[in-house]
Each structure stands twice: as C-alpha cells, then as structure tokens.
C-alpha cells in the first residue's frame, strides 16, 4: 500500500484540527484520566510515605516492648510471658514490597492483604489487619485503577474518532471525489487520518497518566517509558480497529453502534468470560469449609497439647523440658501444630489463585483492556505472582520469627533486653525474579 505523503498528513491534520467533537472528546479524556492519575499517584505516594515511617514505628514499638521486658527481667516465667506477648505484637507486621510502577496498580492494595503479621498466634483467624481500613461501599464504587480507566475510556474516544471516517465521506458524497482526486487512492489518506488520531490519543493518554508516576517518589524513568510504550500499543490497536470498522460497507450510524458493541464485548464480556473460565479451570477451595477444617485442627491440637509439648522438647533437647506445659508454652506448640496441619489447605488456595491468574493472563490478549490492566499491576508489583511471593516471604519470615522466640517461651526463661537487637526482621526483596 502506498504510504501517506506530506500533503496527506497536512490535509488530514487540518481536518482533525477543525473537528470540535474530536477536541471535546480528547479534552474530556484528558480531564478524567488526569483526575484518575492524580488519585493513583497520591495513593502511591501515601503508601511510600507510610513505608518510610515503618522504621520509626518499629523503633517505637521495640522501645515499648523493651520496657515490658525490663519490667519482667529474664530468666523468669514473667519474662517468658512477656516474650510470648512480644511474639504476638505488631513487631511482626510486614509490608508487601512493591515496584517502581506502584501508581499503576495501587488499587490492588485495597483488597490484597498487604500488611500480614508474623506471629506466635495463628494468622488464619486474625482479622486485625494493621493495613488500611476500607469502607466496602467506597471500595466497591471507587476508582478501579489507572490502567483500567484508560482501558475503559480511551477505546471509546478512539472509536468515536476513527469509526465512521470513510462512511462519513460516503454519506456526504465526498468519497468518490477523494478516490478520483487522490493519485494513490484512499489508503494513504486513511492512514494519515488514523495516524493523526493515534498520535493525538497517545499524547493525551501519556500527558494525562504520567502525573501518576510523577507523584510517586518511587517511580523511575524506565517504568515511565514502559508505560508509555504500552499506551502506544493500546492506542494503536484501538485506532486500527476503528479504521477497520471505518472500511466496512455499512452506514456511519451502524459503524458507531458496531464500535460500541466491540467496546462492550472486549472491555466487559471477554474479561468476565475469562474470569469465569479461570474459576472453573482452577476452582478455589471454599473459605467457609476452611473454617471447619481450622476448628478441627484447633481441637486436635488442644487435645494433644501435652504430647505436642513433649515432642517439641524431644526435638530441642538443649531446652530443659517444662512439663506439664502451661500457658503460654502450651499455646505455642498448639499453634505450630495447627499451622502445620493447615499448610496444605493454605497451599491449595495459593496454587488455585496462581493457576487462575495464569489462565487469565494467558488469554488476556483477547481483551486489550485486561492485558493493559494486568501489565500495569505487573509494573506495580501488585499482581498475583508478586503477592504470592510476598506471602511465601512472610511464611519464611514467620519461621525465623518463631524459631527465635519459641525456644525462649518454651524454656520459660524469656528473652533478655539485649537480645532484642537480634530479633528477626522482614527483608523486602525488590525486583521481579528472573
């Protein structure tokens, strides 16, 4: 196909410039995306600021625990109790590591457990999430995330600008004139028209969404470039679809309606279908049934608490056995047993979630909007894989936490104040693996 010449670009540029509907549509898109980007950027900024204060908050909590330990100096049963309370305190709270593109996926932190606590208590019944409290009404109604807003609105504007281009010329009787006057046919004219629209859409999308990354102090130029490239591909796809619709032998009104149907299908119906298929392919175990399993594990552990304590002391011969085991030692071994019993169920949940995410991701190319949203979450580090890795990191941290504190409780000696410096800390690895 012949490529557009300068004159084609000039003509189509002038034509777009003189279309007030196009400018209104682009202006509305800019304003709404800018508002969404500002909210996302401020949310990401608030998360990073809170994370920066974690160290100070930890130091304050550590000081409070230090005073408690000083009030019940080791070695003593009171110190063992104070150590047990320390083990259940907020000193074990973690924070999910995120990536440089946090602003593009920060809304996921509203639903994902992102401040999981390592504890000498079981996590499975702890509803005291130290993370943000959310009004479910606002979370349900709230902004879905910047990539989703782009996926929702940009295709509509693209289709309004691009669908019906040739139909409009035909209905106004100018198509024949264009064919006979253009040396190279309609192709270059159409390409030039679509090219200008692609450029306008891409520039508006980048200008409107970049503030989200600019407001996030953790964002990098690399993420900004990756996001801009993704936006370019997304715009190109929808402009191409609009161009194809424009070439169909249908009326302008039908072209608009077909564009609307396409938008509805690719933005709503296809993602819903993919989620349904993923849920059928990898169904999640039932949370309610998990409650029954948890209670069974709790009962079993309580019935066997003395045997569990005895077994623990046998495995740790360097700790003098304190039999019969009493609170808090008896509670600690029960929790260890419960969590071990429930671990396969926890793994089932994780594996199902990961498989569902893989299924959705593998077919997300069927819905450009879904693919863009998932890419945004990947850049933000709030996708399912990142969250699963975080949960595994918390598990490992909890093992270190318990390995450090449990012997000090079971020995009924407690921990000395100077040992607080050796308390395990949650390390936040960064960067996607591989």
């Amino acid at each position: 196909m012949p490529y557009p010449r300068l004159i084609h670009w000039q003509a189509e540029g002038l034509r777009l410039y003189r279309q007030p509907v196009a400018w209104w549509a682009l202006a509305a898109l800019l304003l709404v995306l800018l508002a969404s980007a500002t909210v996302a950027g401020l949310d990401a900024r608030a998360w990073r600021q809170a994370a920066a204060q974690d160290e100070t908050a930890f130091a304050d909590k550590l000081h409070a625990q230090q005073l408690r330990l000083q009030a019940s100096p080791a070695p003593s049963a009171a110190s063992a109790t104070a150590t047990y309370q320390l083990g259940r305190s907020d000193l074990g709270v973690t924070r999910m590591p995120v990536e440089a593109g946090l602003a593009l996926g920060v809304q996921r932190l509203q639903v994902l457990p992102s401040r999981t606590k390592a504890s000498l208590d079981t996590r499975h019944v702890d509803s005291r999430d130290p993370g943000p409290l959310r009004n479910p009404l606002l979370t349900d109604t709230g902004l879905p995330g910047l990539p989703a807003m782009v996926a929702l609105l940009l295709p509509l504007v693209a289709l309004v600008l691009c669908a019906g281009l040739l139909q409009e010329e035909r209905e106004q009787g100018r198509l024949g004139l264009l064919r006979v006057q253009s040396h190279y046919g309609i192709g270059p004219i159409l390409l030039a028209a679509l090219g200008w629209r692609l450029l306008a859409l891409w520039m508006v999308a980048v200008a409107a969404t970049m503030p989200a990354l600019l407001l996030d102090p953790g964002a990098t130029a690399a993420v900004a470039l990756q996001w801009a490239a993704a936006l370019g591909a997304f715009c190109a796809l929808w402009v191409a679809l609009g161009g194809i619709l424009s070439c169909l032998p249908i009326s302008g009104a039908t072209s608009i309606l077909a564009a609307l149907g396409l938008w509805l299908a690719l933005t709503f119906a296809v993602p819903a279908g993919l989620v349904l298929l993923a849920q059928k392919a990898a169904p999640l175990p039932s949370r309610l049934s998990a409650v029954v399993a948890l209670r069974d594990a709790q009962h079993q552990a309580e019935d066997n608490e003395q045997a569990l304590a005895e077994a623990w002391y046998d495995e740790h011969p360097h700790i003098p056995a304190q039999q019969p085991a009493a609170w808090p030692a008896s509670f600690v071994v029960r929790v260890l047993d419960q969590d071990e019993t429930l671990q396969p169920l926890v793994e089932q949940f994780r594996q199902s979630r990961v498989r569902q995410a893989q299924q959705v991701s593998a077919w997300s190319w069927l819905s450009p909007g879904l693919a863009l949203a998932l890419y945004g979450e990947w850049l933000a580090g709030t996708d399912v894989d990142s969250h699963t890795r975080y949960q595994q990191q918390v598990d490992a941290f909890e093992q270190r936490w318990r390995a450090f504190l449990v012997p000090r409780v079971m020995s009924k000696q407690g921990m000395r104040v100077e040992e607080l410096r050796q308390l395990p800390r949650f390390e936040e690895p960064h960067g996607h693996p591989g």
Partner: protein
C-alpha cells in the same frame, strides 16, 4: 394525541431491527447472568447452612474443656444472602463472610471474596444489576437517540410543526413510546426474574425493585428524548448520550468515591486496634486504668464477701473478674466500632451528595438496599452478631461463676458437652423491607427528583423545539 404518537413510536421501533435484535441479546444476556447468579447464591446458601451446622456440631461436641478456653474456640456467625442479592451483590464481595465470636475481643469479618478473586480489570462484576442498571440505559440511548433528530434530518419535523403539532405532546409521545417498547422487550425477562426471585421469599422487594427500575428507565428515556430534541444530528445525539452514559455510570460514582475517601478518611487498622487497646488498658477519660479498675473491683469483691483472698471466694473468681473486665471491653469496642460506623455513614452521606449528578448512583443504592447488600444491612448483621457474642460469653462465664469456687487453673477441664449444648444457637433474621426502605429513603427521593427533573427538562426543551 400523545397516545397516538407513542403508538407510532412503538410501531416504528418494533419494525426497526435494532429493538428486536439488541433487545433479544440483552434479554438473553440478562436471563443467563440471572440464572447463573441465582444458582451461585443457592449453592452458597446451601454451603453456609452446612458449614453453620458443622461448626455448631464442633462446638456442641468439643468434650471436656476449660470453659474459658472453649469460649475462645468460639462460634462463628455467617451472613445469609437474601434472594435479591442474586441481582445486586452490592458490597458482599468486599466484606468478610465469617465473623469469629470469642470472649474479650470483637473481631472483623474474615475472608472477603474480593481478596480471592481472579485478576480482572476492576470495573465491577458482570452481574444482573450491571445489565439492568448500565446496559438497559445504553439500549435506551441507542434506540432513542434519533427519536427527534431523525424527524429533523428527514424533514418531517418541519411538516409536523406546520400542521400545528406542539413540541410537548410530541416529545412526551416519543418518550412514552420508547418506554413502552423497552418495557415490552424486557417483560419476558422480568417474568423469569420474578419467578426465580419472588418465589423465594422476596416478593415485596422484587415488586419495589420493579417500581424503582420503572422510574429509572423512565428517567433515562426522558434524558434520551431530551438530548435528541436539542441536537441537530443523530450522530451528535448519540455521542452526547454516550458521554452522559459513561460519565454517569462509570466516572461520577468512582471519582466521587475517591473524593469522599480523601475528605473523610477512615483510620488505619493499626491505629484503630491500638486505640481500642489503649482505651481498654488506660481506660476511657476519667475512668482509670485497667489495673486501677481491677484493683478496685477486687477490693470491693473481697469486702462484699468478707474474705481476704480471691481463692477464698465462694464462687469462681476468674469468671467474676472476667465478667467485669469484658463488660468494660465491650463498652470500649462498642464506642470504637460505633465511631467507625458513624464515619462510614458520613462517607455514604457525602457520596450521596457528590453523586447526585448521576441517576445511576441512587438507583444502585436502592437495588443494593432491597437486596440486603448495603452498608446498613451489614451493620445490622454485625450488631446482631456482637449481641450474640456478649450473650454466649456471658452465659459461659456465669456458668463458670456458679460451677467453681475461688481461683481455678485454665489447664483444668471441668466443663462438658452439656454446657456447650446449652448455649442457644446463633440465629439471624435479616430485617424486613421496611428497614431497606427507611435506609434508602434519600436514594428513593433522589430517584424521584431525577425523574421529575428529566421530565421537566424534556417539556421545557420541547417548548422551544426548533424544526
């Protein structure tokens, strides 16, 4: 005259392939989504009943245990789903499914389905409510955008004007015709929905929902015809209606929710729980610390019973002290949770005002209230669960108070199945339709105001209808 115009509009729309084609697609889609949602709800309710029975059986047959340890094993409260929740799940996905009831502590519900959901765009689930509240208005816009502009483009509007046809009867006739056509198309789906939902204890709510939907669609139809009468071309009218649809359904509610979160934020979980613990430990203003209160209570207890040590009391000392401590903790929890609910209510109030510019928001609130999936119903359930928690923990402590003397060890197991089975079962009766209507009265008023405003604007605009 208006009836003739309405009949003519209906005939034209019925002959137009768009009504039958798009209408059929919409009806089939609604039926499929509704049948799936009703089935899912039935399965979920069945599972809830089974799990409730299993959890209760675990409680009833837990054998010999220390009563306080057993109380901490606790009971669970699971929120039932009303029949209309199949239509609009509301906030169900964002709230926990299971509430653990134990002594000393008031917990928040666990296991919100949204945390386990497969990755999606986050634009909301494809529910019957989405079809009814978002897609049907779009159908109205697609069918009705050319109701006046086509007359203008074909030149028939000028002819009607020349024949003395006034604008108001014309647009009202077109409005009625549009409403009647869509109602005809949706009638089969309404019958199927009525059979699926109303047969299962939801007749009154379903009837109110139908009335609300009628007002909602009438509003959208009035807006559609009104925009058509003001625009010069059909394409222009369609674009304006699309912009309104996207703005009202997707943008206004979402931007408003984010604004409300910024204006009236909730505390962090850490601050919330720390505040409760601080008030329990240090006491509410003027009430002394926990240690001081306990010391005073112990002294009074010993004095009242004429003994010198807790071990000499003729009843269970631990239980007596627990009842005292837990009463104070319950008061503190009620205070903090009450403040949390008040803040959420304030957020809802702000949201209602900020979304007043969209008819979608009040309609969504009305369907959610009728479905029992709004904040008010969630609060009702949690308050009922909290009252049950106080009741069952008090019963266990009162039994322990009578069954023991002095100070007993937490390691000794002296309570058995007779006590566990004597605790009344948790039963929850969701509030009736009156509750839903009271808590959504403002939203009903907003919906009525929208209908009135849309019809008034339609009539005022029709007076200056320019052929």
């Amino acid at each position: 005259m208006i009836a003739s115009i309405a009949a003519k509009e209906m005939r034209a729309l019925l002959r137009d392939g768009r009504l039958s084609g798009l209408g059929l697609v919409l009806v089939l889609l609604l039926a499929a989504v509704l049948v799936s949602a009703v089935h899912q709800r039935q399965v979920a309710e069945q599972e809830r009943h089974q799990v409730e029975a299993a959890a209760r059986a675990q409680w009833d047959h837990q054998g010999d245990r220390n009563p306080h340890r057993a109380a901490h094993f606790g009971l669970y409260a699971f929120k039932p789903q009303l029949p209309l929740s199949s239509v609009d799940p509301g906030i169900h996905a964002r709230t926990g499914q299971a509430l653990w009831l134990e002594p000393h502590k008031r917990n928040m519900a666990l296991h919100a389905p949204a945390a386990d959901a497969a990755p999606s765009m986050g634009l909301g689930d494809f529910t019957p409510a989405f079809v009814l509240l978002a897609l049907v208005p779009l159908l109205l816009a697609v069918l009705g955008h050319g109701s006046v502009t086509q007359e203008r483009e074909q030149g028939t509007l000028r002819m009607l004007h020349a024949c003395g046809m006034r604008g108001v009867p014309l647009v009202l006739g077109k409005w009625l015709g549009l409403c009647a056509s869509v109602a005809l198309v949706l009638a089969p789906a309404a019958l199927v929905a009525g059979w699926l939902l109303a047969a299962r204890q939801g007749a009154a709510e379903a009837a109110m929902l139908l009335a609300a939907l009628g007002a909602y669609y009438a509003t959208w139809a009035a807006v559609t015809v009104g925009v058509s009468s003001r625009c010069r071309t059909s394409r222009g009218a369609l674009l304006v209606l699309l912009a309104l649809w996207v703005g009202w359904v997707f943008i206004v509610p979402r931007l408003a929710a984010s604004t409300v979160e910024a204006l009236a934020p909730l505390p962090t979980g850490e601050a919330f729980w720390a505040g409760i613990q601080r008030d329990i430990d240090q006491g509410l203003p003027g009430e002394g610390s926990a240690a001081q209160r306990m010391k005073a209570f112990d002294a009074q207890l010993l004095a009242d019973n004429g003994v010198a040590r807790l071990e000499d009391l003729p009843f269970g000392a631990n239980a007596k002290r627990r009842l005292f401590r837990d009463a104070y903790a319950t008061k503190v929890y009620a205070l903090h949770f009450g403040q949390l609910w008040d803040t959420q209510a304030q957020q809802q109030y702000l949201l209602r005002w900020l979304t007043a510019v969209s008819p979608y928001a009040p309609m969504r609130a009305v369907t959610s209230a009728l479905a029992g999936t709004d904040l008010a119903h969630q609060q009702h359930f949690e308050e009922a669960a909290e009252q049950y928690r106080e009741r069952f923990t008090t019963l266990v402590d009162e039994w322990d108070l009578q069954a023991t003397q002095g100070v007993t060890s937490f390691e000794s197991r002296y309570a058995g199945n007779a006590l566990w089975q004597a605790i009344p079962e948790w039963t929850y009766t969701p509030p009736g339709i009156g509750f839903a209507l009271r808590h959504s009265a403002a939203d009903w008023a907003a919906l009525a105001a929208w209908l009135l405003a849309a019809l008034t604007a339609l009539c005022l605009g029709a007076r200056r209808l320019n052929p």
